[in-house]
Subunit: 161 residues, 3 copies
Amino acid sequence: MAEIEAKLEKLGLALPGPLVLPPGTKMPISFVRITGNHAYVSGHVPQEQDGSIAEPMGKLGKELTVAQGYEAAKLVALSMLGSLKRELGDLDRVTKWLKVLGMVNSDPEFKETPQVINGFSELIVELYGQEVGTHARSAVGMAVLPGNVPVEIEAEAEISL
Amino acid sequence: MAEIEAKLEKLGLALPGPLVLPPGTKMPISFVRITGNHAYVSGHVPQEQDGSIAEPMGKLGKELTVAQGYEAAKLVALSMLGSLKRELGDLDRVTKWLKVLGMVNSDPEFKETPQVINGFSELIVELYGQEVGTHARSAVGMAVLPGNVPVEIEAEAEISL
Amino acid sequence: MAEIEAKLEKLGLALPGPLVLPPGTKMPISFVRITGNHAYVSGHVPQEQDGSIAEPMGKLGKELTVAQGYEAAKLVALSMLGSLKRELGDLDRVTKWLKVLGMVNSDPEFKETPQVINGFSELIVELYGQEVGTHARSAVGMAVLPGNVPVEIEAEAEISL
């Protein structure tokens, strides 16, 4: 079994299915766009196992706590790994995480955006190890996110061909 | 005539002139920055044919409707194509759209940011076709955008040399 | 002495030490992530010489003026150059600034985000010259930034090996 998926299984984590959009919405985009050995990964949101967008919705510092945001960011990592698995076939093909933009749906008084996005970064580093998994990052507060999800994260990574 | 420009003409669409900044403002930046076969495109805003920033200004979910935002995002695509044409000489030189960050000037309760940025993405895919035109994307809500424009979009694309 | 550092000294500017995080916070990330001749630079914030996060905190258009924001953006350039110096050894190794995302902690009515981020861009162009220093850029308003800092900026640059 591939190494990253074996680690996910050991952690009791499973990847969700493809994103199921709310009725009436469309997304004319690629979840993963590849050029050479470089993958651009669209902004991903927390998903349930069936691919639907995960509850709870809402803003950090208003409806949601840092712990809930951290959990949502961890779910985003799984959503993103699900897309990468479907695109690459094998998650071990990610050879270097490069860059992450972590976006938190924030009340204007909420100040702990990095602590939320750590839910994503810590899982990626746990799975891939420090050398491959670490990444440049910004973790910032948005006025709102699509459908009022608490966290959306996009990334760039190097892949093996 | 170049293929993309022929398609624009068939759609009755024209590219605006270079951005005309409001008096007293300066932008010490490059609208398109190229390294190798990779173009980084600055955040673009809706423009009139004369290059001035297009009305209406305002926030989605407050002053503006989704339909107005969609129209603004379509104008941003034309602004960006205008810059690419001036930089590359020929829009057919864009060989692969890679990544788009779609930023919507949003009231904190506005939730339909993807439906707004679709105005950009659908035009790019219509012009370039699915294979070249599709892209990784995030479509998110900002507290505010320069001069209170409703939409600003930045991008990365692969180009032929 | 290296050219860029000589220019900094001539301008009376010094680079701050490594970021000192507030107690109880952690940042499981890389400030600079390199692949080939490409450096991804994490979102940086204004720092004091000792590496601590610089005052004043707050939002543009609420607690802070454009002049204060410009100054904060200039400090962010120094923070980023500090990280690049520690990673690359020599700031002259940056051979082409490519792309900057300038994020301003903004009241929803604040409209002058580019004038704030100019504090970053103008210093980079002054130090590196127009050809190397200019960059694609977006300069936009966030609901909030980590710890309520006024400005956070991330970047990509080409480096010599």
